[in-house]
């Protein structure tokens, strides 16, 4: 492998990182909405939200990607490769993030909420100033795990035509008929990205740690 090809692999790793980041961010927003629906007292909201989580956690991402890419045009929505990959990755991670957040909200202790009520906080205030900050802190480790999961899952998005790290390795393996060095290099780059994300996550955790007085 030449330095030139290596530089192109690093560039492709940048694409992988960017797409994963965008997917995680969109997924977090959708995840919060789905989590809210799951925790809602209304069956009309809870039912579809549960179905959503069950479906996106029940179908392999590879199949979801193909489904979004090829099925959406059948109902008149034709999206580009990158959009299809982002939609599939975001919707999939949102299901996992919603479950994580739900776990976080359910772990906020009743005592704290009662205390907040006792000092006269409104329902929305309690939610915004007690539940949300605590739930988010509690779910940061899970969010970091999920981010790494999506980073790895993005290795599949070339099936809908996005050229990222894995596909670049595949292209070069095809041109040279020598797969080992390219897949090994891709593996090392993924390893670097993974532990980079993990390090950032740990730092965020420390920064936001619930301090005990």
């Amino acid at each position: 492998m030449t330095w030139f090809l290596f530089a192109l692999m690093v560039q492709a790793a940048g694409t992988t990182l960017l797409i994963s980041f965008v997917a995680i961010a969109i997924g977090l927003v959708i995840g919060i909405l789905v989590c809210g629906a799951m925790l809602s007292p209304s069956v009309v909201l809870r039912g579809p939200a549960r179905l959503y989580v069950s479906f996106f956690r029940g179908v392999p991402l590879l199949v979801q990607l193909l489904l979004f890419y090829h099925l959406l045009p059948a109902i008149g929505i034709n999206i580009s490769s990158v959009a299809a990959a982002l939609v599939a990755l975001s919707l999939c991670t949102a299901a996992y993030q919603a479950e994580n957040l739900r776990g976080g909200f359910l772990s906020v202790s009743r005592g704290l909420l009662e205390a907040a009520e006792a000092v006269g906080m409104e329902r929305l205030q309690r939610f915004r100033r007690v539940s949300v900050p605590i739930a988010i802190r509690l779910t940061i480790p899970a969010l970091v795990n999920e981010a790494i999961g999506i980073l790895h899952a993005s290795a599949l998005i070339s099936v809908v035509g996005v050229i990222e790290l894995t596909k670049t390795a595949r292209n070069f393996a095809a041109t040279t008929f020598d797969p080992l060095p390219f897949y090994a290099c891709a593996g090392l780059l993924y390893l670097g990205l993974t532990y980079g994300v993990l390090g950032l996550g740990r730092a965020a955790e420390r920064h936001l740690a619930v301090r005990h007085a």
Binding site: V59, V63, Q64, L67, L156, D178, Y195
Partner: protein
């Protein structure tokens, strides 16, 4: 574009065979993951520093890279270092190693959560170290980690779909072939999604049922 699910019907037997391959791969991969995962977890616990470091690095590398890359390295890169495997054994091996590394981490957490007092009690009745491991620590740990273990097991079902990329004749590969033969991609993909969804739901529910059944064996942690 029309949507006509009936085109898939003549191919259901073929899909059934693909589903059997998927389930077979999953069960074999899961069993290997649990055994190998246990070996890694226990090895790291009782082995020396060097063994712990070596196994720890393996686990970090596997958990730090996508399954697809591991699969490509083994299947396409393997021959370069003299490891030439057919797609099915290569797929199974990659799946098992992947599952084992995730399982081993769950097992380690579980092993650490077992109270010292249980082990001391076993020691006081004269059990050997191996006996304690086999009859106290591991069974208690397995009950403890059942929810996390079920998650990994269910994740492995979905990971088997990736094996279609190296042409293992499992459900996804069979179905995309049907799609290209009949040009009914959308119908085939929809059926495929429903198959996996059902499989995953059944397994998650089975896991939860098992959890409830074994709840009485769970010590109050």
């Amino acid at each position: 574009m029309t949507f006509d699910p009936s085109v898939v019907i003549p191919y259901l037997p073929a899909m059934g065979r693909g589903a059997l391959v998927t389930i077979g791969l999953w069960l074999a991969g899961l069993l290997a993951s649990i055994l190998l995962g246990l070996a890694i977890a226990v090895g790291r616990l009782v082995g020396g520093k060097a063994i712990n470091l070596a196994l720890g690095t393996l686990v970090q590398v596997i958990r730090g890279t996508p399954f697809l890359i591991q699969l490509f390295l083994l299947y396409f890169g393997g021959p370069r270092i003299g490891l030439t495997l057919d797609e099915l054994p290569a797929g199974l091996m990659a799946l098992s190693l992947f599952g084992a590394c995730y399982m081993s981490e769950v097992f380690r957490t579980g092993l650490r959560a077992i109270p010292r007092s249980h082990i001391e009690a076993a020691e006081s009745v004269g059990m050997s170290r191996w006996q304690i491991l086999r009859r106290i620590t591991i069974p208690e740990m397995l009950v403890l980690v059942l929810p996390a273990g079920t998650n990994i097991a269910v994740g492995l079902i979905k990971e088997t779909a990736v094996l279609s990329i190296i042409s293992v004749p499992e459900l996804t590969a069979v179905t995309s072939e049907i799609g290209s033969e009949t040009y009914a991609f959308v119908e085939a993909l929809t059926t495929l999604s429903l198959c996996y969804w059902a499989l995953v739901e059944i397994c998650s529910r089975a896991g939860r049922l098992l959890e409830q059944r074994l709840a009485s064996f769970r010590f109050a942690a």
